[in-house]
């Protein structure tokens, strides 16, 4: 039997569960993959930051001036029209795209540098495949202008203390560390914010390549150039700047490992920490869990704050009975003080040896809650005496939501000046009819919308996993978009009685977590389809 299974791999019977050693081996691989994913997320973050920097420094569309540098049309250098965004740009800020295969439109095609860069970013980040931007981590705050070594040292130290030490050390220890290799290649320049208008093409190109080197090489400390300087001074600065910076970086690298954080370090994967106290009472066979505080949680809303609460559960569950408790929500903070004690009753001493406590932090939200991190602790230790623990939270498990969910694509079309919402499909909708199915359709509207436009999809009869692929247009402006909310409500069509409510979803600037990210991505990168799954909530809010 075993031989057959080995040879074919297509045995219908499921094999035995994984042993502890196997689980450990898989977990080790997953951890390695996570490290790589983080590097990748940082790389994508740098690409995004770079594009944003370009967009910020662009002059903005104007009828007879270059989109990027603001240069007006001249006789020998007429403005070109970007074939993608339809804005005019001077010849220095456009690139020729290869002539298209179609013989009819054989005339030259131009693409403005901004569109070219967006395109490049879409390619490099892998968004072309995933149909939306993958997870990214923006580089830390940029420091423009004069930069001295003490500042550099401080920022390095801050980073070290911020608890990112695990991944930082990893990059450092590898041969060819970005810090050591690229230190000589960054230049400094005095801040000179008003000189943007005079960017000439060579400068623009130069700026990009420089920024490229900087953002790629000196990842975290990214000195980001926004000002233009002439080529000559770049060269000069390079020469003067290189020695000093290379030296100082090297010396700092030697110093950095010395100052150890005073607290016992716990591996922190960037989701913050949680302090709890466990006390077991033999007489009442109850377990008192005091959730003291959390520190350094991830920000979920627009302002970078969260409304966290904890959900506590003793695992594994017994039967269908769920032993789930939650704390109160602490609003608008990343460092909540919960100071709340919850009691689990009916916990025997044998339970303590076998079971564990799972604490999941959620972000409280009117429209459902997003997971912010979780920790699991074995109850074995608290059997004898009360213990106080500091736990590192780990990231939300599984990116894709489960349960009732919808696949939604957003795209802001700059030509039509409209938000295109595609309702692709939904899955695992709740059954509402007596036949065990629902007849779902979706109503959607934008709020506030000056045109008061409301849309409806078709009805998919007797279907809990409907596929619509229907597109809807909402005319709006990008600036308005950041104040609007898109509301989707899912209904079960019934004749003769009111439609049954199936679920809802609100996306917009006031939403949080992955919904906010989806919305912001759509605003930030117009003319691209952003596709994402979202979980539906069962609360009805109109």
């Amino acid at each position: 039997m075993c031989v057959i299974r080995l040879r074919t791999g297509w045995c219908t019977a499921r094999g035995e569960p994984l042993s502890a050693a196997e689980r450990e081996a898989v977990a080790a691989v997953v951890r390695r993959a996570e490290q790589l994913d983080e590097l990748e997320a940082r790389r994508v973050g740098r690409l995004v930051a770079r594009l944003e920097g370009m967009r910020r420094s662009a002059q903005g569309p104007a009828p007879r001036a270059c989109l990027l540098c603001g240069e007006t049309s001249r006789l020998l250098a007429p403005l070109r029209t970007c074939s993608i965004c339809r804005n005019s740009a001077c010849p220095k800020c456009v690139i020729d795209t290869p002539p298209h295969r179609s013989p009819i439109y054989s005339r030259e095609q131009y693409m403005c540098n901004l569109c070219a860069e967006t395109r490049e970013m879409w390619k490099k980040s892998g968004a072309w495949f995933y149909k939306s931007l993958p997870k990214y981590i923006l580089p830390e705050r940029k420091v423009t202008g004069r930069y001295n070594d003490t500042e550099l040292a401080r920022s390095l130290q801050v980073r070290q203390e911020a608890g990112n030490s695990s991944n930082e050390c990893k990059t450092d220890s590898e041969p060819g560390s970005p810090l050591s290799i690229h230190a000589p290649s960054f230049s400094r320049q005095p801040s000179n914010t008003d000189s943007r208008k005079s960017i000439s093409s060579q400068d623009v190109h130069h700026e990009w390549s420089e920024t490229d080197i900087l953002t790629h090489g000196v990842s975290g400390l990214s000195l980001h150039r926004t000002e233009s300087i002439t080529q000559r001074s770049i060269a000069g600065l390079k020469r003067t700047g290189s020695k000093g910076s290379a030296y100082s970086l090297r010396s700092i690298r030697k110093e950095v490992p010395k100052p150890q954080p005073e607290k016992p370090t716990i591996p922190d994967s960037g989701f913050g920490t949680l302090e709890i106290k466990l006390a077991y009472d033999n007489a009442t066979s109850s377990l008192a869990v005091t959730v003291l505080r959390a520190r350094g949680l991830i920000g979920m809303d627009m302002t970078g704050l969260s409304d966290p609460f904890c959900r506590l559960e003793i695992l594994p569950r017994e039967g269908t009975y769920s032993n789930r408790l939650r704390t109160k929500t602490v609003h608008k903070t990343k460092n909540p003080e919960f100071n709340e004690t919850v009691h689990f009753f009916g916990i025997t001493e044998s339970d303590l040896a076998a079971k564990s406590l799972e604490i999941v932090l959620f972000d409280d939200d009117r429209y459902g809650c997003d997971e912010m991190g979780s920790a699991t602790v074995s109850l074995r230790d608290c059997a004898k005496a009360p213990t106080q623990l500091r736990l590192a939270l780990s990231g939300a498990s599984g990116n894709e939501p489960t349960g009732p969910r919808v696949l939604l694509a957003l795209c802001y079309n700059t030509k039509k000046r409209a938000l295109v919402v595609t309702i692709c499909r939904a899955a695992e909708l709740p059954p509402q009819d007596s036949n065990g199915y629902s007849d779902p359709f979706v109503k959607l509207h934008l709020d506030p919308d000056p045109y008061h436009k409301k849309h409806k999809t078709s009805i998919k009869w007797r279907n809990l996993n409907p596929v619509w692929n229907e597109e809807f247009l909402f005319e709006t402006r990008p600036t308005e978009l950041s104040r609007q909310n898109l509301t989707l409500t899912f209904w079960d069509k019934d004749y003769g009685k009111p439609n049954d409510f199936l679920g809802s979803l609100v996306l917009g600037a006031s939403s949080k977590g992955r919904r906010l990210k989806h919305w912001m991505d759509c605003i930030k990168f117009p003319d691209h389809r952003h596709e994402q799954w979202h979980a539906l909530t069962d609360t009805q809010h109109l």
Binding site: R14, K123, G126
Partner: protein, 211 residues
């Protein structure tokens, strides 16, 4: 610039147990070969950065266990991968027949745009061969997937296979990019007029709900 790259492609190796997925990967990433058979536990991955038309492409290649008992773990990695290599063993008829099952498995679990490739491994063992090259080619034509016979032991076509798959993904990326842009990118000045007209009428009447 040793550590930077332009794109990250995620590839996946699937196929029956013992066909040589791990060996192929070992040959590609370390250029070495190990005669002993150690069954992969669940999943593993290796990294190699290759140069493709002047672009540095980092390949993250997932190696999966062929055994059924790891199936739930391995299928979880289908969705994220941009390219999948289906590996069978030319000295094992059964593994060749199972390619169909694996393709079905891909259709159920992987992204629709995934690039595929079939590898007939162990082609150095000609005396033990059970599946002829022609049959492999025919299967590949049936499914319209590229096919190549490889040998991890003799380092035959392994590099070629990975480069081809990566190049196909890259080509798809370029194509996608062109298609994903609004139509203006393709049809020049003509669209300018069209879009101008579109912009003018007041939006009250343009009650577009279905495109």
């Amino acid at each position: 610039m040793a550590k930077t790259y332009d794109c990250l492609f995620k590839l996946l190796l699937i196929g029956d147990s013992g066909v040589g997925k791990t060996s192929i990967l070992f040959r590609f990433s370390e250029d070495a070969f190990n005669i002993s058979f150690i069954s992969t536990i669940g999943i593993d991955f290796k990294i190699r950065t290759i140069d493709l038309d002047g672009k540095k492409v980092k390949l993250q290649i997932w190696d999966t266990a062929g055994q059924e008992r790891f199936r739930t773990i391995t299928t979880a990695y289908y969705r994220g991968s941009m390219g999948i290599m289906l590996v069978y063993d030319v000295t094992n008829e059964k593994s060749f027949e199972n390619i169909k099952n694996w393709i079905r498995n891909i259709e159920e679990n992987a992204s629709a745009d995934v690039e595929k490739m079939i590898l007939g491994n162990k082609c150095d063992l000609d005396d033990k061969r059970q599946v002829s090259k022609e049959r492999g080619e025919q299967l590949a034509i049936d499914y319209q997937i590229k096919f190549v016979e490889t040998s991890a032991k003799d380092s035959l076509n392994v590099e070629y296979a990975f480069y081809t798959l990566a190049r196909d993904i890259k080509a798809k990326m370029e194509k996608k990019q062109e298609a994903s842009n609004p139509p203006g990118a393709r049809s020049g000045a003509h669209v300018l007029r069209a879009s101008d007209q579109q912009r003018k009428p007041p939006s009250w009447l343009s009650r577009c709900s279905l495109l």
